[in-house]
C-alpha cells in the first residue's frame, strides 16, 4: 500500500516537472536551449513510463519506456542538435515574442485544461488519473509555442513536445495504449523529423534563412 502511494506521489511530481518544462520552453528564446529542454522532457517521460510499468507489471510498457529513452532522450535531440549546428543556427533567437504575455496565455490554458479534464479524471481507475489534466495542459502549451514562434526549428520542437504530451496522456490515462500503435507513433515521428530535416535544407537553399517570415507569399489575393 505504502509502495503504491509512493509511486503515485512520484508520478505526480514527474507530471508537475513536465508542466514546468513546458513553461520553461515557452520562456526560452534560444533554439539550442529548447533542444536541451526537449531532451529533459523525454527523460521525465521515460521515468514516468518506467514507474507505471513497474506498478502495473506490464512488459509492453517496459518496451515503450526503452523506446522513449532511445528516441526521445537520445536520438531526436541529437538529430536536432546536429541539424542546428549544420545550419549554423546555434545563436538564433526569437526576437518578436512577447514572453510575459505568452506566459499569461499559458496560465489560462492550464486552467482551461484542468477544467476540461477534471470530470474525466474522476472516472479513471489507474493510479495516474490526476495527471490527465497535466497531459492536456502540456499539449495545449506546446500548441501555443507552435503558434507564437516563427522559426522552423522551434515549430518542430513545439510539435515534438506536443507528441510528448500525447504520449504522457496515453500512459497516464490508460496505462499505455496497445504496443503496435505506439510503434506506429514512434515511426511516424521519426519519419516526420526526417522529412523536416530535408525541408530545412531546402528552405535554407531557397530563402537563405530558416525564418518562416519568408514563407508568407501564399496569401489570399
Amino acid at each position: 500500500m505504502l509502495k503504491s502511494q509512493l509511486i503515485a506521489q512520484s508520478l505526480k511530481l514527474l507530471a508537475a516537472c513536465l508542466l514546468l518544462i513546458s513553461f520553461a520552453m515557452l520562456s526560452r528564446r534560444r533554439t539550442q536551449r529548447l533542444v536541451i529542454l526537449f531532451a529533459w522532457q523525454g527523460a521525465i517521460l521515460f521515468l514516468s513510463t518506467c514507474l507505471v510499468a513497474y506498478d502495473a507489471g506490464l512488459t509492453e510498457l517496459w518496451y515503450s519506456a526503452a523506446l522513449t529513452l532511445v528516441l526521445k532522450v537520445i536520438a531526436l535531440p541529437w538529430i536536432l542538435h546536429r541539424l542546428i549546428q549544420r545550419l549554423g543556427a546555434q545563436w538564433d533567437t526569437e526576437p518578436i515574442v512577447n514572453i510575459p504575455i505568452t506566459m499569461l496565455a499559458g496560465l489560462a490554458l492550464v486552467i482551461f485544461a484542468f477544467g476540461l479534464a477534471q470530470p474525466i479524471s474522476m472516472l479513471a481507475t489507474t493510479i495516474t488519473r490526476n495527471t490527465l489534466g497535466i497531459a492536456l495542459a502540456v499539449i495545449l502549451l506546446s500548441f501555443l509555442m507552435m503558434i507564437t514562434r516563427r522559426k522552423a526549428v522551434t515549430q518542430v520542437i513545439g510539435f515534438l513536445a506536443m507528441e510528448n504530451g500525447l504520449f504522457f496522456a496515453a500512459t497516464s490515462a490508460t496505462y499505455g495504449m496497445p504496443m503496435v500503435i505506439e510503434l506506429g507513433i514512434a515511426l511516424d515521428l521519426l519519419v516526420g523529423v526526417f522529412i523536416l530535416g530535408i525541408f530545412f535544407f531546402q528552405i535554407r537553399e531557397q530563402f537563405d534563412s530558416l525564418d518562416l517570415h519568408h514563407l508568407e507569399a501564399l496569401r489570399e489575393d
Partner: protein
C-alpha cells in the same frame, strides 16, 4: 485473400517504383500497379456483395457496405489518375519542371499514399486508422513539395504543420476513446480499440469522455477534411502540388478523412444518446459550405479556385452526414461519389489547361476551346457538373440534401441555397472566359489523356439519369449502417 492483395499491391508498388521509378516506363508501371489494385478491389467488392460484411485477421480488418464502396471509389480514381498522370508528367518533364529522380519519388509516394488510404479505410482498429491517416499525410507532404519551388515548399510546410497538429489532436481523441473503452471492455490489449467492439457496447461507453473524444477527433480529422476554420492548407496544397496529386487529394483524401469522422460520429452518437455530434457536423458543414463559396470569388489561380470548391462540397457532405437519417446519409454518400469523380476530372482538365496556357493564373488562360476542344469542353462540362446542373449526379444528391434539410431543419435551407448560388456565379463567371475567347498558345508536346475525364463525367451523368438498383441498394445499406 482479396484484402491482402488490395493492401499489399500498392505497398509492393511503392517498393518497385522506388527502384524503377526513374525509368521511362515508370508511368506505365504505375498504371499497371493501380490496375492490379483495382482488379483486386473488384474481387473484394464482389465477395462482400455476395457474402456480406467481412471481419478478418483477429477482427483487425473490417469490410462492410460503408467502406467497401469507398474502397472501390478510391482504387478507381487512383487508377484513372495514374492514366492521366503519365502524359501529364511527361509534359512536365518536357517543360523542365521535373527530373527523373523527382519522378521516382513521385511514383513511389503515389503508391504509398494509395496504400495508406486503403489501410485507413479497411482497418477496424481506431489506432491503426490514426497511423494510416498520418502516413497518408506524410507521403503527400513530399508530393506537394515535388516542384521544390518557394511556393510549393511553403504550401507543403503549411500542410505539414496544420495537418500535423490536426492529427495530433485526433490522437488525443483516440486516447480518450481507448480510455472510455477500457472502462467498459476491460483490458484486452488490442481489442479495446476495435471499432466493431466499440460499436457493440457504445450505449455503455461513458458519454462525457466520448463527447470530449469526439470533439478532438472531429477537429483533428476535420483539419484533413478541410473544414473551415481549419482549411488553410487545402487551397495551397492543391495549387502548388502537381495536378495528379491535387486530383487525388480532393477526390480521395478528403473522403477518407470524412469517413474517419463519420465512424467516430456513429460511436459518439450512440454513447451520448443525443443529436449533439450531428449538430456539430451540421455547424461545421454549413460554415465550410458558405465560406468556401464566398472565397471562390477572390481566387485568381485555377487550381486554388477548385480547391475552394472542394471545401464547399465537403462542407455540404459533412452537413448531410450531420442531418443523419436514411435519406440524408444516402445523399451524402452519393455526393461523396459524384464529387470525387467530377472534381478529379476537373483537376485533370485544369492541369492540362494550365500546361497549355503555361500559367495557372485564370486571367491568362483564354480560349481553351480553340487550343484543344477536348480540354476546353471537358472543363466546361466538369464545371457545369460540379455546379449541380440537372442531368448530372451532383444535382440529384444536392436536391436530396436540400429537401431533407427543408423537412428537418428549415432554417438551414436558405444558407445552403446561398452557398450554392454564390458558388455557381463564382465558378461560372471564371470558367466561361477561360474556355471561350481567342488564344495563340502552342499545342502540347504530348497528347493529353482525356479518356479519364470523359469517363468520369459520363459516370456522373449516368448516376444523375439512372441509378442501377444494385448500387442504390448498396448505398441504402451503408446509409442504414451510419444511422443517426
Amino acid at each position: 485473400m482479396e484484402l491482402l492483395l488490395v493492401l499489399g499491391l500498392p505497398l509492393a508498388g511503392t517498393l518497385l517504383l522506388a527502384l524503377l521509378g526513374a525509368r521511362h516506363f515508370a508511368g506505365e508501371l504505375n498504371i499497371g500497379v493501380s490496375f492490379a489494385t483495382l482488379a483486386a478491389a473488384t474481387l473484394l467488392v464482389v465477395r462482400v456483395i455476395r457474402h456480406g460484411p467481412l471481419l478478418v485477421w483477429h477482427d483487425q480488418f473490417l469490410v462492410d457496405s460503408f467502406n467497401v464502396f469507398l474502397v472501390a471509389l478510391t482504387v478507381f480514381v487512383g487508377f484513372t489518375t495514374a492514366i492521366f498522370s503519365r502524359p501529364y508528367m511527361r509534359i512536365e518533364e518536357h517543360h523542365g519542371r521535373l527530373n527523373p529522380r523527382r519522378l521516382r519519388l513521385y511514383h513511389s509516394m503515389y503508391q504509398l499514399f494509395m496504400a495508406a488510404m486503403l489501410l485507413a479505410l479497411l482497418t477496424n482498429n481506431m489506432g491503426l486508422l490514426w497511423v494510416a491517416m498520418e502516413a497518408a499525410t506524410l507521403s503527400t507532404v513530399l508530393l506537394v513539395s515535388l516542384y521544390r519551388t518557394k511556393a510549393s515548399l511553403e504550401a507543403a510546410w503549411k500542410y505539414f504543420i496544420l495537418c500535423g497538429v490536426g492529427i495530433a489532436l485526433a490522437l488525443f481523441g483516440t486516447i480518450l476513446l481507448y480510455f472510455a473503452a477500457e472502462q467498459t471492455l476491460g483490458r484486452e490489449g488490442m481489442t479495446a480499440l476495435l471499432w466493431t467492439h466499440l460499436d457493440a457496447v457504445k450505449e455503455h461507453l461513458e458519454p462525457r469522455v466520448l463527447g470530449l473524444a469526439f470533439v478532438f477527433l472531429l477537429v483533428g480529422y476535420g483539419t484533413k477534411v478541410g473544414l473551415v476554420p481549419l482549411h488553410n492548407w487545402l487551397p495551397d496544397a492543391h495549387a502548388e502540388g502537381p495536378t495528379p496529386v491535387s486530383a487525388v487529394l480532393s477526390g480521395l483524401l478528403l473522403n477518407v478523412a470524412l469517413y474517419a469522422v463519420v465512424r467516430c460520429k456513429i460511436l459518439a452518437e450512440g454513447s451520448i444518446g443525443s443529436a449533439l455530434p450531428g449538430r456539430m457536423l451540421m455547424g461545421f458543414g454549413l460554415l465550410s459550405a458558405v465560406l468556401g463559396a464566398f472565397f471562390l470569388w477572390r481566387q485568381r489561380d485555377i487550381k486554388r479556385l477548385f480547391g475552394y470548391s472542394s471545401i464547399e462540397h465537403m462542407g455540404i457532405i459533412t452537413f448531410a452526414f450531420g442531418l443523419g437519417g436514411p435519406v440524408a446519409n444516402f445523399a451524402a454518400l452519393l455526393h461523396m461519389t459524384v464529387h470525387s469523380l467530377t472534381k478529379s476530372s476537373i483537376f485533370f482538365t485544369a492541369g492540362h489547361a494550365s500546361q497549355a496556357a503555361g500559367t495557372q493564373r485564370i486571367d491568362d488562360i483564354r480560349g481553351l476551346a480553340g487550343i484543344s476542344p477536348t480540354i476546353g469542353w471537358g472543363l466546361m462540362l466538369g464545371s457545369i457538373a460540379i455546379l449541380g446542373m440537372p442531368p448530372f449526379g451532383v444535382f440529384t444528391s444536392e436536391f436530396l440534401i436540400l429537401t431533407t434539410a427543408m423537412r428537418d431543419h428549415p432554417w438551414s435551407t436558405p444558407i445552403l441555397l446561398i452557398a450554392l448560388g454564390v458558388a455557381f456565379a463564382g465558378i461560372f463567371s471564371k470558367v466561361q472566359p477561360m474556355v471561350f475567347g481567342e488564344s495563340d498558345a502552342p499545342p502540347l508536346p504530348h497528347s493529353p489523356a482525356m479518356v479519364p475525364v470523359f469517363l468520369h463525367l459520363a459516370m456522373v451523368l449516368t448516376l444523375g439519369l439512372y441509378m442501377p438498383p444494385a448500387l442504390a441498394e448498396w448505398y441504402r445499406a451503408a446509409a442504414r449502417l451510419i444511422g443517426g
